[in-house]
Subunit: 343 residues, 2 copies
């Protein structure tokens, strides 16, 4: 149903995984084009046995395109997405630019896929730190209504881009050799350190990354009454974000019930056996499309609380996989690609 | 007043710092001896310009010793501490063995130094993850009564010992070279990973490290009514533990008031300017004796909550420094070294 597809930001860390997923999952399409910044235009991408030349992202690029899956900086999404929509293209956008727009559904297909039906040309994919948390909250919210969340994140270098991931490696090498190293992608050295700031100051001493976890969770779960206190921290992990989450629900959920609810939720895998030292960890989540949850236990500090730990590949379910799943949802549910409001 | 001192476990990661601190801080003493396991006996330690041979820790070692500062595994402290006390020695013990004994004060000098007066031969120093948290909680508790704490830790390799710290380096080197590496000190690879387990399973799916943060905090603050939910995580940091802490108090404490209270507390340093990217980080805490606190902000999820982030050198204030400060407190407050109950 989408005859012609574009991957925007195709040469980036997330874009490359989008291409790989479209290929591996045999996404139905007739034509595909790969778009990127001027700097990357001219590079070559191999897709389904054919070589493609990456084209420059420019206003006219979407005339023959039905669907764009896009991972670009926010300011790029700011100008090109409306252009693409005007040309009749549906855009699944990874950037933060359109997520909070009331006309744009913000979607995790397993959580609120139906919201896609309301799209007017743009469907946004949430921030990586939000996605894995909301996947865990959703079944608990449905069963017992989530009232409050306290979350501390352990976020990987790859979330800051491919260059940031390389910097972690180079910085670690320099540290081990006792050599100085200058970071450009991080405000402070990341190797063998923790940086308790992701994003810029945004709201009452919370960062933009932290406020995304509040605003986006409210939007996806369609419930602004959930109280959320996030602390976002960059740790010297290559890939996969981890989160320590405390959830309070209106009705008490036992550990056993929580484990059953989470295990029955598509996209989640429960790994929870402390006696056997089994719990989610970044090195196991890397390259996987699921979100892993463990260390599920009763909160010692409130009657209706649960503490747990979740890990997800921030480049995959936190970005590329979720975007491709949104596109797959549209194919499966026959959403009209060229929506009326944008024609 | 302590004529003769012993450092027990003198060759270990913490023991070495204890020796350095006694020297640097010119701790008053006439004689010093260095004790360690059979494996380390015979090694040499330089102290105040003189070379000393490390002696084997054995039952008769404390006959002429007034004060022992000790950092050993729990099982070692289990047998030697009562022996030392029987011989009239006061023991400041870093191990977890005696901390929860009702006859043993558990002390952070800036927090509850007066408890030292009640000692009966043993004074325990708290677990590293507890110490830095309680330092932060204490002024808030005094001012507004702490009711609840949710804490997620980011703990350094050095907390598992000197060998563990070396393993992180070696594991990181192997990872960067694409080589396999077998960890012995950790159940899972630590380099570029997070391990959400420290200690053994202890209580309702919480680990021993997590429960230390509950039990020890209650004992030090003499208030079992404080509700605490801890999650302890090992991160690939060489040294210095970080903690993301949410504190709820009976009376609301504003950010400004909290900052003033914390800044006025001996042993704490407030580093809190998000706009200038200033906050505590492990690389800055390394080698320092203070605990650093920042990212102080109003909890977005409760009316009387505060969120904050603290960092401390787990080998220093989390261990060696605190033990030496306990000994210094005794010197300053003229506590009789050979206490009556043990003579």
């Amino acid at each position: 149903m989408f005859e012609s597809i574009a991957v925007v930001g195709a040469t980036g860390a997330v874009g490359q995984i989008i291409c790989k997923l479209l290929e591996e999952r045999q996404f139905p399409l007739k034509r595909i084009k790969f778009l990127a910044s001027e700097r990357s235009a001219g590079k070559r991408i191999r897709f389904c046995g054919q070589e493609h030349v990456v084209q420059k992202l420019e206003p006219g690029a979407f005339e023959e395109v039905d669907l764009a899956i896009s991972s670009t900086p926010d300011e790029v999404a700011g100008w090109f997405v409306p252009e693409a929509v005007r040309q009749g293209c549906v855009v699944v956008d990874e950037s933060a630019c359109w997520r909070m727009d009331p006309n744009v559904p913000l979607v995790i297909p397993e959580v609120n896929g139906e919201a896609i039906r309301r799209h007017r040309g743009i469907i946004a994919s949430p921030n990586c730190s939000t996605t894995q948390m909301v996947q865990v909250l959703k079944p608990l919210h449905d069963a017992a209504r989530v009232r409050r969340v306290v979350v501390s994140t352990y976020q990987a270098a790859s979330g800051a881009g491919a260059a940031a991931r390389r910097e972690l490696d180079e910085g670690a090498r320099a540290w081990l050799a006792g050599q100085p190293y200058t970071y450009h992608e991080f405000a402070h050295p990341l190797a063998f350190n923790c940086i308790p700031q992701i994003g810029r100051p945004k709201h009452r001493a919370y960062t933009s990354e932290e406020m995304k976890m509040v605003y986006e969770t409210h939007k996806i779960l369609e419930d602004d009454s959930i109280q959320i206190c996030p602390t976002c921290v960059r740790v010297p992990v290559a890939n996969c974000h981890s989160e320590s989450i405390l959830v309070e629900t209106e009705r008490k959920v036992t550990v056993e019930e929580a484990r059953e609810l989470l295990a029955a939720t598509p996209g989640l895998v429960v790994v929870d056996d402390l006696d056997r030292k089994q719990y989610p960890m970044p090195i196991h989540g890397d390259g996987r499309d699921e979100t892993f949850v463990g260390r599920i236990r009763e909160d010692l500090s409130s009657p209706n609380g649960l503490a747990l730990w979740c890990v997800s590949d921030n480049l995959r379910k936190g970005a590329a996989t979720n975007a491709v799943q949104i596109a797959e949802w549209m194919v499966a549910h026959l959403v009209e690609p060229r929506c009326e409001s944008s024609s």
